[in-house]
Symmetry: C2
Subunit: 386 residues, 2 copies
């Protein structure tokens, strides 16, 4: 089975960082603070209350230093200039969108990470990351509430003849109350990311801890594994096939999880969601396996149309939630057609057909992680309630 | 209580990478392969069968690129030269010691990581890492054996008013057999590292999985947390005090672990070990808390002398294992005196006094992680047997 190649390639076009559409120059407030993602003790990069980012790089003999963030999206960037102390400094020309952004440096034509920040796996490499505080960040920050665990498991996969890694979020009290069994969400990263993305960039564990502490959801387990099984890194997307990943997920990982964790293992207690490429994988795999999944979430990764419903036996009866979300900046211009029709119109048509269809738009965000943190936060509250 | 400041400062002198003492130029075999720690799909750095490392960096407009590995230890390095394709290339002038080495690049005077490799937290920053295959690597490689889990826990610390992180290794079948309770080893990193070091650099989880699979040890739990509680990163070692970390460990983390994991919580089933600064922390904390620990391991982090025995009430009766190890390259010249006397002579004097004193030397390694992987492998087989 092949995933829609055209869709995947177009999706990649949107994988870069979108910046705010704001172009007029406003006065920059001098209230810069170190980004929360800086390495311990590092003062730069910094972010101010308006969302401007300021960078400082030490490379005294360099000829040019550029940061791939700021002004005009993935092909823009911020040129740093040599300061009096011979460090390289610069501030983005526009405020950045709230939330998480990947970036890197270009030093004398070479790609390097900013030594000031932590690294995050995206674009098939460990990239620098910066965080612009969002007005609603409370839902994903670390608080003094009961915390679940993020457990690294290693499971053997016969189909690929490899030992593979997954991370499993288990909710607070999972170990203490040995009688309770839990529903499971299989949650997938995007192209070029890996199984670390949803906790490192997405704060999925903290989103869950906070929702549970507020009594907004009943606890469930989340499983995150690597979704680029047939290595589209190297072969390119033309050769992408869903089969290897579907085999690992359906035939190997799900049985392993049900065997090793206290799950509710029927379809009514199993959900799958993914962002970007992970959303397209989610759509393909769930619609081919409705005996295994009842709740489906596509985060910036496609839509459900009535054509999907009509060609999928049992969709109306079996899909208990068809959740589709995007960042608002993904929806301008002629972009919606890339995702299989206008997402809002598609969601409405499913709702009219009596399907529990939910459409969510993350305000003022693009194809980036704040859209997906918010999507998970919405999606989680709708799960396992039918 | 203050840790011995002089000892710690001298210890830092040894924290860099030692290279092989070999200086004669041998013919370099052209059998280079990508280091096992490279980022996915990255061809460089490479390592050959003799232990030479070869680097390739893209920075077409750079003036100079240097790698902090090779020839002559921490202050040496390998100067890269511009190749025909305008990449920067270079091979170490000598083979590197087997095992794991931290390094970074100096590009036009600035410190950057090698984009080819994974990063590891050491020297208070995320550094590049390279792995030179060791003849005995079998004991720490990933195999198709039953795997334990590495669980990230977040626990609230009243004394520091922070939510702190630890990683907990639980052995295979920990979840399945709910009746078994396990001994616990508290295992500590060195200066400038953090709670990720023992699994990322040390492969502690794989060492345990393999030992258990071979039937060489009875399973136990390992707990790893951050040991630089009062932030010697910033205040400097002169201000180092063991008290904040001792409080977190003894009053907060141990009770949390005993409350949340199926531990055997008496002193006879609790061990502590650490490398370098973590060894000195281990010595100070265990000798002040012999009601809580029975097995002690110092890996390149001090020795036990009869003076220690005589001034510590109950040492002879309560310490069931006094394990001390070093890399062989740490023991040359006048170095032993830095660690409180000649380690071997000290260990022998304890043994003569009837104490279960074990001294281990890792062959042909320095103050680096292969010494400590081997130390853990030896130490684990001696634990909880008295």
């Amino acid at each position: 089975m092949k995933l829609c190649t055209i869709g995947l390639i177009l999706l990649l076009t949107f994988s870069g960082s979108f910046c705010s559409a704001q172009t007029e120059q406003t006065a920059i407030k001098e209230d810069f603070k170190p980004s929360t993602l800086n390495q311990p003790g590092q003062e730069y990069p910094q972010v101010n209350s308006q969302g401007y980012a300021r960078f400082r790089i030490l490379a005294p003999e360099a000829q040019s230093v550029k940061v791939t963030l700021g002004l005009g999206g993935p092909r823009g960037g911020t040129i740093l200039t040599r300061a009096a102390d011979s460090s390289w400094m610069g501030t983005t020309a526009v405020p950045l969108d709230k939330g998480f952004h990947y970036y890197h440096l270009i030093v004398d034509g070479g790609v390097f990470n900013d030594p000031g920040t932590l690294n995050f796996y995206g674009s098939t490499r460990w990239e620098s990351g910066i965080e612009i505080p969002a007005p609603d960040q409370d839902f994903y920050v670390l608080k003094d509430v009961p915390h679940g665990k993020v457990e690294q498991i290693l499971f053997f996969s016969k189909s690929t003849d490899t030992t593979r890694r997954a991370f499993v979020y288990t909710p607070p009290n999972y170990d203490k109350d040995q009688t309770t069994r839990y529903p499971v969400l299989y949650l997938h990263h995007g192209w070029g990311e890996d199984e670390t993305a949803w906790t490192n960039q997405g704060h999925a564990n903290l989103i869950m801890d906070n929702l549970i502490a507020e009594g907004k959801i009943k606890p469930f387990i989340i499983v995150m594994t690597y979704g680029m099984t047939n290595d589209v890194r190297i072969g390119g997307l033309r050769n992408f096939s869903i089969t290897p990943f579907e085999t690992v997920l359906i035939d190997e990982l799900i049985p392993y999880i049900d065997d090793n964790f206290r799950t509710l293992s029927d379809r009514d207690h199993r959900a799958m969601a993914g962002l970007s490429m992970g959303g397209m994988e989610t759509k393909t795999i769930t619609l081919a396996n409705l005996d295994k999944f009842a709740y489906i979430g596509l985060f910036s990764g496609g839509t459900f149309s009535m054509e999907d419903v009509n060609k999928t036996p049992g969709f109306k009866e079996k899909v208990k939630l068809a959740f589709v979300s995007f960042g608002s900046r993904e929806l301008g211009g002629n972009r919606p057609s890339f995702f299989g029709g206008d997402p809002k119109a598609n969601a409405d048509s499913l709702k009219e057909a009596g399907i529990n269809s939910v459409f969510f738009v993350s305000p003022e965000t693009a194809h980036e992680f704040l859209s997906w943190r918010r999507s998970l936060h919405e999606f989680a509250q709708l799960l396992f309630k039918q």
